[in-house]
């Protein structure tokens, strides 16, 4: 009898313990984050540290799991499909070109109630930054990373070609390219694969220079688009032989290896000049606004840039999970953490952060030039507001580079894509 009671007691004890353990274990909320800030990305180290620190501080209650997304373009395509199917990740970053679709999908978490109920967001964002991001009274994303895309150039290679300063006009720029070519080096890094990112930035600069910062409002019929393609047509005469079909890795790699003298990308690339560039490269790099087109509507010193990645979250049915997601978003947007991210990568953020005084020289120069710029125009990718046109751009650019179409023909290809 006693044996039976003991057996029953043991069974009840074990099963109760298991239930308690499983309840405790299941109480941990897992937040999945398909992140592009992994691998070679300049923000990967600090992002990984921030996630680890958050997980430690919330051990047993919240766990953020990074799903590594090593290809930016494939991530963007995957996210587009997820927006369509309504199967959004718990937390994700989204480019400016997808913000409208994200809002229309109705599947993103509305952060407006959290902004209204908590002073954190209003304290860390500049005035009006969140309001300007609202659509239909909802806030489906938090603006996060900003970018500008000045010219970065190799001072050593330009000096060897007889240039101490970066040219201010495209006429002088192409003369400089002739001189650089004569030294056995290649003038610019270009690409046409995927979204033709670095070449798209050059095109955006030339476009803003030809038609002014509001050129996108006038549409593809504006002559500035033809003028910008004329600049690109020349640009491809002074680039590497693998530019047509090259991706950002190849394009950036040529500059990192001192094969090319001039390169254009965002401030997040600053860390890579040291980590992936040939020894001494960082010291030789100069920063300048893009050249101007003579007779264009742009102004000297004009910059191109805008919102890069915004933070967003999928709609949650569980209030506890929603709170956990919001908690992590707050963690990512504290001024201290943003300062760490900016310091390590060189990337710029909209969140107000006290940056250390010993920030990278290139970051400081870019920031100063941005501050003095008469305008910061949108990139072609963000300014056009049309995914089909943006998607056709690499094909139009490669057709132009190979002499298949004229600059007018390249514009027609873009129109045809719509």
């Amino acid at each position: 009898m006693i044996k039976s009671i003991l057996k029953l007691f043991s069974v009840v004890f074990i099963s109760t313990s298991l239930t308690v353990i499983s309840t405790v274990a299941s109480a941990e909320i897992t937040i999945n984050w398909p992140s592009i800030w992994v691998g070679k990305d300049s923000k990967s180290t600090v992002i990984s540290e921030l996630v680890d620190e958050f997980n430690s501080a919330n051990s047993g209650s919240i766990k953020v799991v990074i799903e590594e997304q090593t290809d930016y373009d494939i991530y963007a395509q995957k996210l587009t499909a997820q927006i369509s199917t309504g199967d959004l990740p718990d937390i994700f970053t989204v480019g400016a070109d997808l913000l409208s679709i994200l809002h229309r999908s109705g599947k993103a978490m509305d952060l407006a109630p959290h902004v209204a109920s908590d002073s954190h967001w209003n304290n860390v964002y500049p005035e009006g930054a969140l309001e300007s991001n609202m659509m239909g009274g909802q806030l489906t994303n938090l603006p996060y990373e900003l970018f500008v895309t000045p010219v970065t150039y190799n001072k050593k290679l330009l000096k060897a070609a007889g240039y101490d300063e970066f040219p201010a006009t495209y006429d002088e720029f192409f003369k400089m390219c002739e001189a650089v070519t004569a030294t056995g080096k290649v003038c610019t890094s270009q690409m046409t694969a995927k979204n033709a990112w670095t070449s798209m930035l050059w095109f955006s600069q030339a476009l803003a220079s030809a038609g002014g910062p509001n050129v996108y409002e006038r549409g593809l019929d504006d002559p500035a688009f033809v003028k910008a393609f004329e600049v690109m047509e020349k640009m491809y005469q002074y680039t590497t032989s693998d530019a047509v079909g090259a991706d950002a890795g190849v394009s950036g790699g040529h500059f990192l290896n001192e094969r090319t003298a001039v390169f254009m990308n965002g401030p997040w690339f600053i860390a890579r000049y040291t980590s992936d560039g040939i020894p001494g490269l960082h010291e030789n790099i100069g920063v300048a606004p893009a050249p101007m087109l003579t007779g264009g509507e742009g102004a000297p010193g004009g910059y191109v840039g805008g919102k890069q990645s915004s933070l967003a979250a999928g709609k949650q049915s569980d209030p506890a999970k929603e709170e956990a997601v919001v908690k992590f978003l707050k963690w990512l947007t504290t001024p201290e953490n943003v300062a760490r991210l900016s310091y390590s990568s060189g990337a710029m953020f909209i969140v107000k952060a006290d940056l250390p005084s010993d920030m990278d020289r290139l970051f400081i120069e870019m920031n100063e030039q941005k501050g003095n710029a008469p305008y910061v125009a949108k990139t072609f990718m963000n300014g056009m507001g049309s995914l089909p046109i943006v998607s056709e751009f690499p094909q139009a650019l490669s057709a132009l580079a190979l002499g298949e179409v004229t600059p007018e023909g390249a514009v027609e290809m873009l129109k045809d894509a719509e």
């Binding site: 395509q77 587009t80 499909a81 927006i83 369509s84 199917t85 679709i101 229309r104 999908s105 046409t192 694969a193 995927k194 590497t240 032989s241 693998d242 530019a243 047509v244 079909g245 090259a246 190849v250 040529h254 094969r259 995914l387 089909p388 943006v390 998607s391 690499p394 094909q395 139009a396 490669s398 057709a399 580079a401 190979l402 298949e404 179409v405 045809d416």
Partner: protein
């Protein structure tokens, strides 16, 4: 054979799972594809637009080029890849010394990720540091020192299709397996008649594996009609849309949220595939089913 009445119930019961799965995962998606191809569905909302998607597609040069490129791929598979596989299979069927090594080497691309191979070949074709140009320069073709194989309109398609020939091993193995089943009696008889090796290949082996050869042609055409990963990874349809193929075109339409138009392209692709396969079946029927 007459099926008894009580057997019909069992028959239906046994084939029901297959039919249900076929209906769920094939018929319904195709019907969905067909219906949405007449809408401007962008993943969020949809309105009926009639034949607009189809007319717009056929007015686009890049779409027409995608169709012709796919036909080009199919034709190359039928006229080059499979015949080349047949020749290699006939040679390896002699079981000469080292034949197993060749068989394995030629089959290796099948067991390696196609994405990895595509990236490797993209690097080999690179104009600045690619091995292909280095070798060409080394043997005296210095004009090709910086030739951009995948970024040149004249050579992009040829480079892609040339690279795809490394998959010849798949068809070679199928035909080689068929040769193993041929009775030795035929060859003994031919030996007695004094036939050469070439005559034995031509008059015994080749005719006896003809049905497998035609099967390989049909398979190759199907594979090349749905060509995606090599093109997507190596050129993404460029330069200037010159290497565009149907599935990459559909992918591009879907990635810019034009799901209705992408589905219309999908319907056209199914129609082309059906026409091609029916034509091939009719053309090869008498031989295949002998």
């Amino acid at each position: 054979m007459q099926i008894k009445k009580d057997e019909v119930v069992w028959l239906l019961l046994f084939i029901a799972p297959a039919i249900i799965l076929f209906f769920l995962f094939f018929i319904i998606p195709i019907l969905f594809l067909f219906v949405t191809s007449f809408t401007n569905w962008d993943g969020i909302s949809a309105e009926f637009v009639g034949l607009e998607n189809y007319t717009k597609l056929f007015n686009k040069k890049s779409f027409v080029r995608a169709i012709t490129n796919n036909l080009y791929w199919c034709l190359t598979a039928a006229l080059i890849t499979v015949p080349l596989a047949l020749i290699i299979a006939l040679l390896l069927a002699h079981r000469s010394r080292g034949w197993k090594v060749f068989r394995t080497v030629l089959f290796i691309p099948q067991v390696v990720s196609s994405a990895a191979i595509a990236m490797l070949w993209a690097a080999m074709f690179n104009a600045e540091y690619g091995l292909v140009n280095f070798l060409l320069d080394y043997i005296g073709f210095s004009d090709y020192k910086n030739h951009n194989w995948l970024g040149n309109i004249r050579t992009a398609n040829a480079a892609l299709i040339g690279f795809s020939l490394c998959y010849v091993g798949y068809f070679m193995v199928i035909m080689l397996a068929k040769t193993a089943g041929i009775s030795e009696d035929y060859y003994d008889a031919a030996n007695i008649d004094g036939a050469s090796q070439f005559q034995k290949d031509l008059h015994i082996t080749a005719p006896l594996i003809k049905s497998t050869f035609f099967l390989c042609i049909i398979l190759a055409v199907i594979f090349n009609l749905r060509q995606f990963e090599y093109v997507y990874l190596m050129t993404a349809g460029g330069p200037a849309n010159k290497t565009q193929v149907l599935v990459v075109y559909i992918w591009n339409e879907l990635s810019v949220q034009r799901l209705g138009r992408g589905n219309a392209a999908g319907v056209i692709m199914i129609a082309i595939g059906a026409i091609l396969l029916l034509s091939l079946r009719k053309l090869l029927k008498s031989e295949t089913y002998n």
